[in-house]
Symmetry: C2
Subunit: 202 residues, 2 copies
C-alpha cells in the first residue's frame, strides 16, 4: 500500500474482531516501524505500554474507558507515554554511533535546550507521541489492519493503574485490529483555506 493510500484510508475504526490474533511478528514489525519516528535530538523519549492482560483491558474499558469496545476487542492496545526527563538520562546513548564531535555537539545542546523549560519538555513529549502514533497507524494500514486513537478515558486513573513513572506524561491509547464495520464518511473536513496561511497570521 502506498503512503497516500494509507493516509486517506486510515480512519478511526470503532469495531474490531475480538477473535482475531495478531502474530508476534506483526506486532514486532509495527513497533520496529514506530521507533523510526523522529524525535528532537534523537531523544527517543516515548515509552509504549502494551495493554495485553484481558482482565486489565476489561477493567479499563468498564471502569475508566466509557465502555469503548475497542479497548477489549482490538488485537493490540498500546498506551503512549513519554519521559519528559529523558534529556537528563545518559543522553550520550542517543548518539553513541555518531562521530565523537557530532555526538559531543548534539548532547551538549540537549541540556540548555530543555533546562528550565518545562513547557517545552512537555510539548516535545506530546509531539513525539503524535508522530509515533501516526507512524503506528499508517504501518498498521499496510499490514492489513485498522486502528483507532483514543483519549476518551480517565487519564489520571489509568496513569495510577499502570504505575506511570514520575517523569512520564500520559498520551492516548492506540487500538489496532481487524475492523468489522466501515467507518462513517468524514464528518466535516475544513477547507485548506481555513487552516493554511502564508508568511503571517495577520
Amino acid at each position: 500500500m502506498n503512503v497516500i493510500e494509507a493516509i486517506y484510508s486510515r480512519r478511526a475504526v470503532k469495531h474490531f474482531d475480538a477473535k482475531h490474533r495478531m502474530s508476534e511478528e506483526e506486532e514486532r514489525k509495527l513497533f520496529e516501524a514506530v521507533i523510526q519516528a523522529p524525535t528532537s535530538f534523537n531523544i527517543q523519549h516515548w515509552r509504549f505500554l502494551v495493554l495485553r492482560d484481558p482482565e486489565l483491558r476489561a477493567k479499563i474499558r468498564t471502569e475508566l474507558g466509557n465502555d469503548q469496545s475497542q479497548m477489549t476487542d482490538a488485537s493490540l492496545l498500546v498506551l503512549f507515554t513519554a519521559d519528559v526527563k529523558a534529556w537528563q538520562k545518559e543522553p550520550q546513548r542517543y548518539w553513541k554511533n555518531a562521530p565523537q564531535e557530532v555526538s559531543d555537539l548534539l548532547v551538549g545542546w540537549m541540556g540548555p535546550f530543555h533546562e528550565g523549560r518545562e513547557w517545552l519538555q512537555r510539548d516535545e513529549a506530546q509531539r513525539s507521541i503524535g508522530m509515533a502514533m501516526q507512524t503506528m497507524m499508517l504501518a498498521a494500514q499496510e499490514l492489513g489492519y485498522q486502528s483507532c486513537p483514543m483519549i476518551g478515558f480517565d487519564i489520571e486513573k489509568v496513569a495510577e493503574l499502570v504505575k506511570l513513572p514520575e517523569d512520564q506524561v500520559m498520551g492516548p491509547m492506540v487500538a489496532i485490529g481487524k475492523g468489522t464495520k466501515d467507518p462513517w464518511p468524514k464528518p466535516g473536513q475544513l477547507p485548506l483555506s481555513e487552516v493554511v496561511f502564508e508568511n503571517s497570521f495577520a
Copy 2:
C-alpha cells in the same frame, strides 16, 4: 513507495537544493494529505503557516534560526501551530456532515472534555501537530522529497514575527525539499526492550 519503506527512508535531511521549485500541485497534494491526519473530536485545530517570502526566511535563518540552511534552501517551509481554543469556535462545523444525533453527541462531549483542562488542550494540540508533521513528512517521501523537522529556533520571537494569534500555540517547522547529501546513519537507536513495556510500568 509503500508505507514501511517511507517510514524507514525518512530521515532528517540537513541540506536541500535551493534551486528546486515545488509545483503548486505537489504542494496542494501534500497539504490535502496532511489534513487527513486524525484529531480528537475531528477538531482539526492545526494551523499551518507556509513561510514563502525569501526575505522572511532569510531573517528567520540568520536572526532566529541558528543559521540552519534548510530554512532558506527547502522548497517548502511550514510552521506548525494549533488553536487550543478551537473547541469553543463553532464546533458544529467539525461534524456538519454527520447524522444529527452523532453530531449532537460529539459536539456535546467536546465542551466538558476540554473545559478547565488547559494542560489537556495543549497536549492535544501538540499531539495533533505531531501526527500532522509525520503525515507531511511521509507523504513527501512518496512524492520524491526529503524533509527535516526543526525546533531549533527562537520560538517566542518567531511567534511574534509571524503574529501568532492569541489562542494558538507554536510547534516546530517542517522543511521539505530535494536533499543534496545523504543523512548520517542512525546515531543510536534504543532497543525495543528499553521503550516497550507490558501491562504495567512497575
